[in-house]
Symmetry: C2
Subunit: 321 residues, 2 copies
Amino acid sequence: MAVYTDVSADDLSRFLSRYDIGELLSYKGIAEGVENSNFLVHTSSGHFILTLYEKRVDENDLPFFLGLMEHLAARGLTCPQPVKTKDGGILGVLAGRPAAMVTFLEGMWIRKPNAGHCAAVGEALARLHLAAGDFPIPRPNALSVDSWRPLFEHAGARGDSVRPGLCDAIVRELDVLEHSWPRELPQGVIHADLFPDNVFFLGDKLSGLIDFYFACNDTLAYDVAICLNAWCFEPDHSYNVTKGRALLKGYESVRTMSADEHAALPMLARGASMRFLLTRLVDWLAVPDGALVKPKDPLEYFRKLRFHQSVRDANDYGLGA
Amino acid sequence: MAVYTDVSADDLSRFLSRYDIGELLSYKGIAEGVENSNFLVHTSSGHFILTLYEKRVDENDLPFFLGLMEHLAARGLTCPQPVKTKDGGILGVLAGRPAAMVTFLEGMWIRKPNAGHCAAVGEALARLHLAAGDFPIPRPNALSVDSWRPLFEHAGARGDSVRPGLCDAIVRELDVLEHSWPRELPQGVIHADLFPDNVFFLGDKLSGLIDFYFACNDTLAYDVAICLNAWCFEPDHSYNVTKGRALLKGYESVRTMSADEHAALPMLARGASMRFLLTRLVDWLAVPDGALVKPKDPLEYFRKLRFHQSVRDANDYGLGA
């Protein structure tokens, strides 16, 4: 939640002159997105989001991300749509960074989702999976099961400074995940980061999905597991089976999961917990003591992992009940 | 540059229902303002800025700040205008903070001002001084000459960790300022923080002034001195007399300064440098090593102070030339 790169009005006006979207009237850096710098831009023809891609984003991935948004929007999914320059491009350079303009989506993200929101997000996730089915550019998941051990070794033994015994628990879980990870389930393009702050609502109606910068090819049901983690736990860390049931029903109202996908849900949910536990742990350990900006708590995902380890089968998530 | 307090869509909708400004469509935290949390709010009737006043702002000052904006806007100055609730109020509570909505101003702040921008800001500053002449609420300047020594003593001897000898130099300057500070010049409401990021332009035309949260009663010419510091130095720390001349001419095209005000400019400019040197020093020393957010460099204002100490008289700023 930051603006890493400042942009001058002159540079922005010059950048916008490549587009057919009128005169610049105002722009504000917005406190959203942890990877890139985002500006809300108002021109005489409307509102847009300008993104400057910072170092953590690989420039080679941008055709995938921007192309995917274009592909999904063309198939009726409400997501930001890259704005084309007069000569048909969607990627430029501004303030020394790769930069793109996308359409502005109205709507608010929901701080305290209820079961209705969970149903809507499940349905939207399934629509995304289907709509992306024929998207031609591949992008392997850089944060899949095989990356977790190297990521953990990067954080190293310092994990125990966050919670005594954490490192041991992670190593034991990585052994299980690497041995039992379901690798034969249906694959496709997944969002991989569909947290509440990436889903907009107007009233109770889902109005759009944003932030496709972790999207990649991976197991479709793994994306469902990420959403169960992100949407269906309460602030006191308990799993809310009503929300889980709503999310799964919403998903299956659009795309039915196979028995194998159902059976794999607990293991996929453990993996999803591990993925966010590890990236949060790395971020947590990278921030100096006393810094103003506190990263997200990695232990939230350790607690979720503990829950998934205790699950008997997918019915415990609310499936079919 | 931050959002300190998050706001939920439900809470915001409830807050907005007190106003006659339509349905909430979207809102984004914006990366502006160092004291408060600011959101750009879009409703079915237009765009607004919502400000949540954080702890550093004294709630008792809010009628002054909001009343001043209303007063200035009513006299034709383009500045944010507080939006009235259905029952005529301008201050509410949101997320446990005092909160107000103001109108949205189009325009961009200028990263590299030229002499034309300086002339425009000088003129706008004088208009502000005249328009505020009959504003009835008083607010003493909490950051005036008498506050500088206590502020310095708060930072204490640690100033030398920023630059060896800094503390000695500050003490010697405080002796001069306290002894020679001009106390008999015309008084009035000053903006006190009219830096480039608080002045909007559309093309070359000044389109508005924002951020009145340091406004107070003080010496009018001191406000001019703050602007000379903020607008007329180059990135290499040299004073640009062409910009200074433009700013002073712009100011005096609306409000003529007296001979005493002219004569006092060098001392006022030294004081303005001291004020920003000290607050930046305090902020600098408050941030832990290695923090992600670097506060503004206090030594920028130490260099400006050195320049003002070397000035022979106000002609060196471009006056009358």
